[in-house]
Amino acid sequence: MTVIVPLADVTLRGMLGRRRTILLVLLAGLPVLVALLIRVSGGRPDADRVLDTLVVRFVMALVALIVGTGVLGSEIEDGTAVYLIVKPIARWRIALAKAIVAAGLTAALIVPSVLLTGLLLGGRSDSMTITVAFAVACLVGGSAYAVAFMTLSVFTSRAFLLGLAYVLIWEGVLAGLLEGTKFLSIRQATLGVASALGADISGDPLAANVSVAVLAIVIVGGFLVASWRLARFEIRGGD
């Protein structure tokens, strides 16, 4: 495991460039800001609704998209991934280090955001249960998103656009219209976990066991597919 640490270290340094860090912090801070505004304006505190509509449906997916496509895809695009590839390291270790950073950074941004938002909006007796439910769901769901987008970035230089299309078109529109496609949605699985842990989710959330299975398959499957692809990594460009 000794190579995981330097791999994760250099990945994290690369991710925390000034502009990207500001963007990520602003995004993750958005729900907190909204919660503050609700409190200040004397609006009705409804943690379930804000955490469901704003965090899970929007902020978590976008943060995971930026992080997931950034940890490896941007290095492949700018050519610096070559310095990690031409080393006597099994490629699954590279995928593992990247996945750990992608999932960890997404969670580090989203979970505090959920907790702060939940605490600010807490008003009901079960507000702590709801907040913790969403925090746990976002920890797992954000990791699943991040690993899925990281895996996508190993296959295509258009991972960000494709990921955005998945979030906005597939999850935002189609998964709501076509009931049978819910289990192909990371968002629906995340809401399923939150619901199972006590959050009040509108509509008909996925069952807890199905949700956990979907997220586990995305995380483990994404990591395996990324490892497989990296083992066959071919450099782009050159004459």
Partner: protein
């Protein structure tokens, strides 16, 4: 196609004089010994586009130049050797094992890619240390310090790479490739962006590494770079191996080919008739107010021209080769 007198001759190729078997380059490995790097009938294509076409050679210790115009397939060939591309046909062996899908072979190889991008947020020292740690070197900090000193980057080692000049980035990349003391070093256009002093230092460094028994292959589209550094050369043109062997023999092929020049003078007609009497010239004609001269002996002609002009009281205003681009030289080699 040619071969050095002290190297095994290239077998006659089946196709238009192209190297077809496995010529040994650099210092020929002893009989039965495994060459450090072996490219065996390797092709690589992208859809219908053939980037590398049935190339074979083997490399032992020494400096070999991979010469060819831009787009000839040099980078593709280097990427195949570095295990960064899968051969569509044939195989690449590094220290006897496949280069493709065998990460363990990177213990033997150091790669300096052409692309300038390096982790700009790391310092030169951090970059070298990262490479040493990923290589599993025993003392990464000491290995990084050694590599940085070797490439003469110690003074700037603690500045971030983002502040480096192009030449300094090249040296940082080389330091990263040297931390594990590889037996094979692959460098893609390593002199790009270097000033003359850095270039000389890098050349001396590569020569000393080759003298210590390493196999070094560097690509370049600049003939003079290869001439100054390489013991032997691989000439690639349009994805084919156009020539392989001792540099001097190939250089002779390049300069002894028929050359054409245009000359403008105070009396073109008199100059043309005087030149025709010279043994080095086999054709002279008046075209568009100039003399078009054909010669088979580049050096003899360039020496004779001023002498003949002076003897005939003709003033020379302009002399220009018509076909001296590297492209035409490579194209000529392929036709041979």
């Amino acid at each position: 196609m040619t071969a050095a007198p002290n190297l095994p001759p290239l077998p006659q190729a089946a196709d238009a004089g192209l190297a077809d078997a496995v010529p040994a380059m650099g210092t020929t490995p002893p009989a039965g010994a495994t060459p450090a790097l072996e490219v065996d009938h390797v092709s690589r294509w992208y859809g219908n586009v053939v980037a590398v076409n049935d190339i074979s050679f083997a490399l032992g210790a020494g400096v070999t130049g991979l010469l060819g115009p831009n787009g000839a397939g040099k980078s593709t060939l280097l990427h195949l050797m570095a295990g960064l591309l899968e051969p569509s046909a044939g195989r690449v062996l590094v220290e006897g094992g496949s280069a493709w899908r065998r990460p363990g072979m990177y213990r033997h190889i150091g790669l300096v890619p052409e692309r300038e991008a390096v982790h700009a947020y790391l310092t030169g020292r951090q970059f070298a240390t990262l490479n040493a740690r990923l290589q599993g070197v025993g003392d990464p900090d000491a290995a990084a310090a050694r590599a940085i000193a070797t490439v003469d980057l110690t003074e700037a080692a603690d500045r971030s790479i983002g502040t480096y000049s192009k030449g300094m980035r090249q040296r940082a990349k080389l330091a990263g490739a040297l931390v594990h003391d590889p037996t094979v070093l692959l460098l893609d256009e390593p002199f790009n962006g270097m000033d003359p002093r850095q270039r000389l230092h890098m050349m001396a460094l590569l020569r000393s590494m080759a003298a210590a028994g390493r196999t070094i292959l560097f690509s370049s589209h600049i003939l003079e770079e290869v001439e100054r550094l390489a013991d032997s050369v691989l000439v690639v043109y349009a994805g084919r191996l156009a020539a392989a062997g001792d540099f001097r023999s190939i250089r002779r092929l390049m300069t002894d080919r028929p050359h054409t020049f245009t000359v403008r003078s105070s009396d073109d007609r008199r100059l043309a008739s005087a030149l025709l009497a010279d043994a080095a010239v086999f054709g002279a004609e008046l075209v568009d107010g100039r003399v078009l001269i054909r010669t088979a002996d580049y050096e003899a002609f360039t020496r004779a021209l001023p002498r003949i002009a002076r003897a005939n009281a003709v003033s020379l205003f302009e002399m220009a080769p018509t076909d001296d681009s590297l492209e035409s030289v490579f194209s000529y080699l392929v036709r041979r």
